[in-house]
C-alpha cells in the first residue's frame, strides 16, 4: 500500500512526464479527419488512421485551413494533458491538406493572411475612371490576350491612348517582370492599368499568386483591373486589384468608354439644350408680345376715348358759345329793329306829325278839346295851333 496516490497526484505526474517530453511539443501529425465541428471559432477534430484516433483542437480557425470530413491532413502542434479531466488533446496551430491539395492550400493560406492584413478590403478599391484618356496594359505581347484587348478597346473608342508594357507572364522569374511592368505602368500616370493573362493550368498562373506580385497590385497608385485566365479562374491579384475582370476582353470593356455613344449623347444633350432654350425664348417672346399688344390696345382705347371726349366737349362748347352769340345777336337785332321802328325822326320823315299839349305828348284825340293850344312837330319845323273842332270816329 506504499504506492497509493490520489487521482490529482497521478494526473499531475502524467502531465509532468508529457511536458518533459520535448518530442511531444512539436509534432506534425498525419491523419484523416474522422469528424470535425467548429464551436465559437475553434475547430474540434477527431484525427484518425485505420488503427487509431486522437482528439485535436485548433483555436481560432480563421488563421488556418479548415478541412472537411475525410480530408487527409497534416496538423502541426503539440500534445497537452488536462489534469482536471485526465484527457489528452492534440493542440494544433496549423492545418494543411496532405498531398495534392497543398498548392491550392498554400494559396488559400496566403489569401487568408493578406485578407487579414486588409489588402483585399472593399473599401480599398477605387472606381475605374469612366472616361479614361490613357490606359496601360501589362501583359505579354505574344498571344491572343493583347490582341483581344486592343481590338475590344478600339471597337468602342478610337481615341484612347493604349500603352502596352510587354511582360513575361509565366515562369519562375515572371513575378519580377510583372512587378517591373506595374512599376512602369504607375509611372506613366495613366487613368487605368490592366494586368492581364490568358487562361492556363494552375501552375501557369503561379506568378499571379506570388505574394510580391499581389502586394504590388494592392499598392498600385493607378486604379487597376486584374484579368487573369478565364471566367472560372481566380488569382490572388484579382482580389488585390480594384476590379476583377472575368476575361481580358471584359477588362478592356471596363477600361474603355464608348466614344461613339458619348458623342451621340453630347449631341443629343446639346440639341435638347438648344430646343429648351428656343422654347423658353419663344414662350417669353410670345408672352411679351401679348403684353405689349395689350398695352398698345389699352393705350389706344384710352387715347381714343379721351380724344372722343375732348372732341365732344369741344364741339359742345363751340355749340354753346355759338348759340349764345347767335342768341345775343338775335336779341340785339330785335332791339335794334325796335329802336329803329320807334325812331321819332323816321316817323316824322314819313310825314307823320307829333302833337304836344302843355309840354306833353298827345297820343289820342280824346286828350284834346276845342280851344286847346297845341304844338305840332314835323321834320322841318314846329307849328303852334288852336283847336277849332274835335271829331271823334265812331266807336268800333
Amino acid at each position: 500500500m506504499n504506492n497509493v496516490i490520489t487521482v490529482s497526484q497521478l494526473n499531475t505526474y502524467i502531465k509532468n512526464i508529457i511536458n518533459a517530453e520535448e518530442l511531444l511539443r512539436y509534432i506534425v501529425a498525419c491523419g484523416e479527419v474522422f469528424s470535425i465541428s467548429i464551436v465559437s471559432g475553434n475547430a474540434f477534430i477527431t484525427l484518425a488512421d485505420k488503427d487509431a484516433q486522437i482528439s485535436c483542437v485548433c483555436f481560432d480557425v480563421s488563421k488556418t485551413y479548415i478541412p472537411k470530413k475525410g480530408d487527409k491532413i497534416l496538423i502541426t502542434g503539440g500534445l497537452s494533458y488536462y489534469v482536471k479531466s485526465g484527457k489528452m488533446t492534440f493542440i494544433g496551430h496549423k492545418i494543411e491538406l496532405a498531398g495534392q491539395g497543398s498548392l491550392l492550400q498554400k494559396f488559400d493560406e496566403l489569401k487568408k493572411k493578406l485578407q487579414a492584413e486588409g489588402l483585399f478590403d472593399e473599401k480599398r478599391k477605387r472606381k475605374i475612371k469612366p472616361y479614361a484618356k490613357k490606359i496601360a496594359v501589362v501583359t505579354s505581347l505574344t498571344g491572343a490576350v493583347i490582341r483581344d484587348i486592343v481590338r475590344t478597346v478600339r471597337l468602342k473608342n478610337p481615341v484612347i491612348d493604349i500603352n502596352i508594357i510587354d511582360t513575361r507572364v509565366q515562369g519562375d522569374t515572371a513575378y519580377a517582370d510583372i512587378i517591373r511592368g506595374l512599376d512602369i505602368a504607375d509611372e506613366l500616370k495613366v487613368d487605368t492599368v490592366i494586368l492581364a493573362r490568358g487562361g492556363g493550368a494552375l501552375e501557369d498562373l503561379l506568378p499571379f499568386f506570388d505574394e510580391r506580385v499581389v502586394r504590388r497590385v494592392a499598392s498600385m497608385q493607378t486604379p487597376t483591373i486584374s484579368a487573369v485566365g478565364h471566367e472560372t479562374d481566380f488569382s490572388l491579384t484579382d482580389f488585390a486589384a480594384d476590379l476583377r475582370a472575368a476575361t481580358p476582353t471584359a477588362a478592356a470593356e471596363a477600361a474603355a468608354y464608348n466614344y461613339y455613344e458619348l458623342i451621340e449623347n453630347i449631341a443629343s444633350i446639346l440639341a435638347k439644350i438648344d430646343n429648351d432654350c428656343k422654347r423658353v425664348f419663344e414662350g417669353k417672346q410670345q408672352k411679351y408680345r401679348l403684353f405689349a399688344e395689350s398695352i398698345v390696345h389699352k393705350s389706344k382705347n384710352f387715347i381714343d376715348k379721351n380724344v372722343a371726349q375732348v372732341r365732344n366737349i369741344a364741339a359742345q362748347s363751340y355749340f354753346n358759345i355759338s348759340n349764345k352769340l347767335t342768341l345775343n345777336t338775335h336779341i340785339l337785332d330785335k332791339l335794334t329793329d325796335k329802336l329803329n321802328a320807334d325812331n321819332p325822326i323816321n316817323l316824322i320823315k314819313k310825314g307823320l306829325f307829333k302833337i304836344e299839349r302843355d309840354g306833353k305828348a298827345a297820343t289820342t284825340v280824346k286828350d284834346i278839346k276845342v280851344g286847346d293850344s297845341i304844338s305840332i312837330f314835323s321834320y322841318e319845323g314846329k307849328l303852334y295851333a288852336k283847336v277849332e273842332k274835335v271829331e271823334l270816329k265812331k266807336e268800333q
Binding site: V307, V310, A314, L335, A361, F377
Partner: protein
C-alpha cells in the same frame, strides 16, 4: 360796360322809346343813346365772334390729332 349791362340798358331804352308819352326831344335823346348802346353791344358781339373763330381754329388743330393706329 359789360355786354349784358349794355344789352339791359338798350332794352330799357327801347322800352322807354316805345312808350307814347315821351317828348320828341327825349325820344331823340333815347334813340341816340340806344344807337350807342346797340353799337357797343354789336362791337362786343363782333369781338366775341372773332375771338371764338380764333379759338375754334386752335381747337380744331388740337382735336385733329388721332390716336396712333399702331404702337408696335
Amino acid at each position: 360796360m359789360k355786354f349784358e349791362e349794355a344789352l339791359n340798358a338798350l332794352q330799357s331804352v327801347a322800352n322807354e322809346l316805345e312808350s307814347a308819352d315821351t317828348t320828341l326831344d327825349k325820344s331823340l335823346e333815347l334813340y341816340q343813346k340806344g344807337v350807342e348802346l346797340a353799337k357797343l353791344c354789336m362791337d362786343e358781339l363782333n369781338e366775341a365772334k372773332g375771338k371764338i373763330a380764333v379759338i375754334k381754329k386752335e381747337m380744331d388743330k388740337i382735336t385733329e390729332i388721332d390716336a396712333p393706329e399702331d404702337l408696335k
